[in-house]
């Protein structure tokens, strides 16, 4: 944990709701390389506040890479690195003294900017709303051990379920597509017996909602998977495609 201090120049996107935004330049001085990226922004904000300026608005909560709140495009990369980490897990030792960083919100048509680095990702909730669950009423569940599930399938479902809903996939996709996000949910339930009854309607509804909300299409370029802090794989997109095709035939039964 060697201690080292660095200085950085930040070009930060500043924007008020409903107004045009622009980049502004700030100096981040004397930053401990053991600090996290968000802690660096905290320091900058404390200084801005003391100088009578408005601090940079950015979203964060858990600061340990699980809640999916944080995220910004740093030097052109979502979450600042393509290293399976969220912005809150990125540490300043990844940067060099004198670096100049451009910091921007996660951009996509479906993610309007609310303020500075904060965007509205509620479209992702709407996708889930349209079928990303098993419709089981509390109290109606059978004894948990009734249905054994092959370990491979449970593990694969967990791989898909690890999504934190941060939206980096959408921001990284050249088409602003939410396929990786949607496919992770569809996949999780397609792999488990509990998901079977609603399998066809789930995928149909979720894709329809995704389309309606202004996300782009998948052109299989896989930028999403490079950006995903949780390593969600594009095999789920392939599965989503299969599920979607199968939903046509399944329904007719």
């Amino acid at each position: 944990m060697a201690e080292k201090k660095i200085n950085l120049t930040l070009n930060v996107w500043r924007q008020q709701a409903g107004q045009e935004g622009a980049f502004e330049t700030y100096q981040a001085e004397n930053i401990d390389t053991n600090a996290s990226f968000l802690e660096m922004l905290d320091v900058v904000n404390e200084n801005l506040t003391c100088a009578g300026k408005e601090p940079i608005a950015f979203e964060h909560d858990c600061r340990e890479g699980i809640c999916g709140s944080c995220g910004a495009l740093v030097a052109g990369k979502t979450h600042g690195s393509h290293d399976r980490s969220t912005l809150c897990q990125l540490h300043m030792r990844s940067f060099e003294d004198g670096d100049e960083l451009t910091i921007e919100p996660f951009r996509a048509d479906a993610f309007p900017v609310i303020k500075d680095l904060i965007v509205d990702r509620s479209a992702l909730d709407q996708i889930v709303s349209s079928g990303g669950y098993v419709s089981v009423k509390t109290g109606s569940a059978p004894e948990a051990s009734t249905i054994p599930i092959e370990k491979n399938f449970a593990d694969a479902a967990m791989d898909a379920a690890a999504c934190i809903g941060c939206g980096a996939c959408v921001a990284a996709c050249p088409n602003g597509s939410a396929m990786l996000f949607t496919s992770a949910k569809v996949s999780q339930f397609a792999l488990l017996p509990q998901g079977a009854p609603e399998r066809a309607s789930r995928v149909k509804e979720m894709v329809e909602t995704m389309d309606r909300l202004g996300f782009g299409n998948c052109s299989n370029e896989y930028e999403c998977a490079v950006a995903c802090p949780k390593g969600i794989d594009v095999k789920h997109i392939a599965r989503l495609n299969r599920e979607f095709i199968a939903s046509r035939t399944r329904k007719k039964k």
Binding site: K77, S177, F244
Partner: protein, 220 residues
């Protein structure tokens, strides 16, 4: 109604794109390439192939209609998706892609347009072109071989344009083939994928094979 909704959904459009592309690939590019290879075996064999092809007129017309439908569907769907994609990501500023994003993928709409332009030029040059006759096994047949030869001979500029278009075909296919599989739900891994490699090799092989004719014809 249900079907239109299915087909015009994001995934539906991609399925149409992949299907029309695959039809063009399997029923047009592959046989066409096969035919072209015969060029290497000399005038008689090539002209005989062309002659026999002309005897299969009903089938050829059927395929031509299918091609027309395919390319129309392909272009309409390509335009729709590309348009929606541009719009969905219209607000980008400092975004850089990762190393992952291949040139071929980036250039899909452009390589596609090149292919279309090429097809138009190509048809104008070879299909709707006055052809002279020649003798084959005592019959009078069109001298397709001679036509091709004369078109390329001595015209370096034309050969260059042709080769340029072949690069476009190669690029388009190298992304398209594996991408279509993923669209159909066949998992194409992000890294170390054999399918991706195969797609690249097939595309390169195909574009090179097509490129051989103008080169040989030019050198002839």
């Amino acid at each position: 109604m249900k079907n239109t909704r299915f087909l015009l959904s994001s995934i539906g459009q991609k399925l149409l794109l992949a299907t029309s592309g695959t039809i063009m690939f399997l029923l047009f590019l592959v046989p066409h390439m096969g035919g072209n290879v015969l060029f290497l075996f000399g005038k008689d064999i090539f002209n005989s192939y062309a002659h026999h092809l002309h005897k299969l007129v009903p089938i050829v017309i059927g395929i031509e209609v299918l091609m027309l439908v395919s390319i129309s569907v392909h272009m309409i769907m390509a335009a729709r998706t590309t348009w929606a994609n541009r719009k969905a990501a219209s607000s980008r500023h400092s975004q850089k892609g990762s190393k992952e994003r291949s040139l071929a993928a980036r250039l899909m709409p452009w390589s596609g347009i090149m292919i279309f332009a090429f097809i138009v030029i190509h048809l104008a040059n070879f299909k709707f072109y006055e052809k002279s006759k020649t003798m084959l096994d005592g019959h009078e047949v069109y001298d397709v071989y001679g036509m091709v030869l004369s078109r390329f001979q001595g015209d370096l500029w034309y050969v260059g344009v042709y080769l340029f278009f072949m690069v476009a075909v190669g690029l388009h296919l190298s992304h398209a083939l594996q991408s279509a599989l993923q669209t159909y739900g066949v998992y194409v891994p992000r890294t170390g994928s054999k399918i991706k490699a195969a797609s690249m090799w097939i595309a390169t092989g195909m574009a090179s094979t097509f490129a051989i004719i103008p080169i040989i014809a030019y050198l002839n």
